[in-house]
Subunit: 74 residues, 2 copies
């Protein structure tokens, strides 16, 4: 399900992208570690996916971040 | 999908319950406002539902809280 231009999802996506880049991981690397599809990582970062808590936690864990950091400002 | 004993979902559930009670709302009142099923509110509070970002945001909004408050410590 895509949710174009949702500000909450967009803010979470920007956080994931920033934290992922800071960690030196690629979308593909993160996807492999988190066991989710690379296109889903891309959708999360673009704010057009509506991920569940457990998906976000897995992403956070793989990036060495907390769920709070992932949703900061969202 | 139930996720018994997941610490992240349990922490979020406790936050929702605490904030909902502080707001004076019942599970049913919150469910009606957030347009989700009352049993789903109950499942979230018990930490056995894995809600999406947009469901949690709706819950937060109806409780006058932020997403960050909902996931605090999770």
């Amino acid at each position: 399900m895509t949710k174009a231009h949702d500000p909450t999802l967009a803010a979470i996506g920007k956080n994931v992208k920033r934290i992922r880049r800071a960690s030196g991981k690629t979308q593909e690397g993160l996807a492999l570690e988190a066991e989710i599809d690379r296109t889903y990582v891309s959708q999360i970062e673009r704010g057009i996916a509506n991920p569940s808590v457990l998906v976000l936690r897995k992403v956070a864990f793989c990036l060495g971040a907390t769920l709070s950091e992932i949703v900061a400002g969202a």
